[in-house]
């Protein structure tokens, strides 16, 4: 026994009370939870981790047939497969982690009724598990990129120095999905409406993001809708860094990063408030 483990349980704690020591004590648990989330996705499947690649690949192929072959939508000189695949995997990271995080509290309600652990590990483990899936998909993108560069004589895309900001953009996406996800998770524990709203919202949001189209095609009148969306700036910036397409201004990027940060901080605070006695209402 040591004083280090002394815990005070009290009524009416403040919104800001985080048990930071617990995050340290339970760090091995976080690792196991991430692993569990990741492994559980392909347990009892024949194709295993291949599933992480099949979905975006098929989506990209459909987009190529639909938008390039049928509608002849230009892709800023980037081979259509690469153009769509890059947009799809970045969007998937956001959308998959957001929907997993938003349900993390509800899905683990039974667990929360029986054991204590830092509840923030629920959304955070979902985030990391989605990040790993994204990294696998990013490797496929890199392989495709290389294949085009080596075999296609007309291929003239090249990454530029902005590529050093890749981790920053991924972090921004992480903050955004964690923030929105924790907001929705907290609200869903009380009102199931938000679950339906999330699914609808994500579908609409996808169309407002430049996944299947380039920003050049959007009429100047409506560009603000795309640019006001923090997911767009990440998709556009990543594409610009790896393919050399048109970049977006730093002002828009800074605003987008700021918005993601604020959403994340408020979401985590709200989640922390709700988790304290959510098992009473869930």
């Amino acid at each position: 026994m040591s004083e280090a483990f002394t815990k005070v349980i009290r009524a009416n704690k403040s919104w800001l009370s985080f048990d930071l020591r617990d995050f340290v004590h339970y760090r091995d648990l976080l690792f196991l939870m991430v692993r569990r989330e990741f492994v559980a996705k392909y347990k009892q499947t024949l194709l295993g981790p291949l599933w992480f690649i099949i979905q975006p690949t098929l989506m990209a192929i459909v987009f190529v047939f639909l938008f390039s072959e049928t509608m002849h939508v230009p892709t800023e000189g980037v081979p259509p497969v690469l153009f769509y695949f890059s947009g799809i995997i970045v969007w998937n990271f956001l959308s998959n982690s957001l929907s997993a995080i938003s349900l993390s509290m509800l899905h683990h309600a039974e667990l929360c009724k029986k054991v204590y652990f830092p509840r923030l590990f629920l959304p955070v483990s979902q985030l990391f598990s989605s990040l790993f899936a994204f990294l696998i998909q990013a490797m496929v993108l890199a392989a495709l990129y290389l294949l085009f560069a080596l075999t296609d004589k007309q291929f003239h895309c090249s990454p530029n120095s902005a590529i050093v900001f890749l981790p920053l953009w991924l972090l921004q996406l992480g903050l955004l999905s964690l923030g929105l996800g924790t907001w929705i998770a907290g609200l869903t524990s009380r009102y199931r409406d938000f679950h339906h709203l999330t699914q609808l919202g994500l579908t609409l949001w996808m169309y407002a993001s430049p996944i299947s189209y380039s920003l050049k095609l959007v009429s100047p009148k409506w560009k603000w809708i795309v640019l006001a969306n923090p997911a767009s700036s990440v998709i556009l910036s990543i594409r610009s860094a790896i393919f050399g397409t048109e970049a977006i201004s730093w002002n828009v990027q800074m605003a987008s990063i700021g918005a993601s940060f604020v959403i994340c901080v408020t979401g985590v605070l709200f989640f922390n408030r709700v988790q304290r006695n959510f098992i009473d209402t869930v």
């Binding site: 815990k7 349980i9 009290r10 009524a11 339970y26 347990k43 009724k113 652990f117 098992i279």
Partner: protein, 259 residues
């Protein structure tokens, strides 16, 4: 030495009545009803009331003490353990817990059905706040005590209730925690296992752990715990020797019983 568990005036209330919202629609409906009734009698407007699952409970438990919580269904035994296990906040009061806590409030809490017994021992240990290394040190003892050696690499969803119980209990009992909170966890094991489990708990008690034990099996409670806490309608009505506590409990259940 300071007591391992110090509970000071803990109360926990739940809302009763209509106000168990499931959707926004219900919320608006309720709000609308409230607005319409604004001019009516306040007492009538009260659609819900507070239910005190625990009211002003205070006690201390020292190292090396095993305490049995006695009381009828709904007396607040499980709520008390939930509050102490930090699963839900008390409405009033505070509790100080000095040491690491292992709570076993239901069999197999924290087990993942798709993972094997081996993986679950590590996962469950981590849920109880243990490092991987600490679990690894106790791994063989845990498996041996649970008598699941042959099935340790089988997903636990294929386990029987008894195997599940034995494994879950073994993890909690072997880990190096200072405080053990147990809520009716032995009922699903067979008699031989229950006996071994109680012996194990007595051993832990002698090592200086504090144990808070809820069970409706009076024989088990009496063999482990020397002290009783009686709860009635959320209030602590007795705190003292187990024999007297049991007497108190039995008379409260059926006043005609005289031991």
């Amino acid at each position: 030495m300071k007591p391992l568990i110090e509970v000071q005036n803990i109360s926990k209330s739940y809302r009763m009545g209509e106000r168990g919202f499931r959707s926004l629609r219900d919320s608006f409906h309720f709000w609308w009803k409230e607005t319409l009734r604004k001019n009516e009698n306040r007492a009538e407007r009260q659609l819900f009331q507070n239910f005190w699952a625990l009211k002003d409970v205070s006690f201390e438990i020292k190292a090396g003490e095993a305490v049995g919580v006695l009381g009828r269904n709904g007396a607040g035994k499980s709520t008390l353990l939930k509050v102490l296990a930090n699963l839900t906040e008390p409405s009033e009061g505070q509790a100080i817990l000095r040491g690491r806590i292992a709570s076993l409030l239901e069999v197999g809490s924290g087990f993942h059905p798709d993972l094997t017994g081996r993986e679950n021992i590590f996962l469950n240990g981590a849920f109880l706040g243990m490092k991987k290394k600490e679990v690894a040190q106790q791994f063989d003892a845990i498996v041996q005590f649970s008598e699941n050696e042959a099935f340790i690499d089988t997903p636990v969803k294929h386990y029987s209730k008894g195997m599940y119980t034995r494994l879950a209990f073994s993890v909690a009992a072997h880990l190096n925690t200072d405080i053990l909170l147990l809520d009716e966890v032995l009922e699903l094991g067979d008699l031989a296992f229950q006996k071994r489990a109680i012996d194990k708990m007595i051993e832990r008690k002698k090592e200086g752990k504090a144990i808070l034990f809820v069970s409706h099996d009076s024989e088990r409670v009496q063999s482990l715990c020397e002290r009783a806490l009686n709860l009635e309608d959320g209030k602590l009505t007795f705190d003292g020797q187990m024999a007297q506590g049991m007497q108190h409990y039995l008379t409260s259940v059926n006043p005609s019983i005289i031991l």
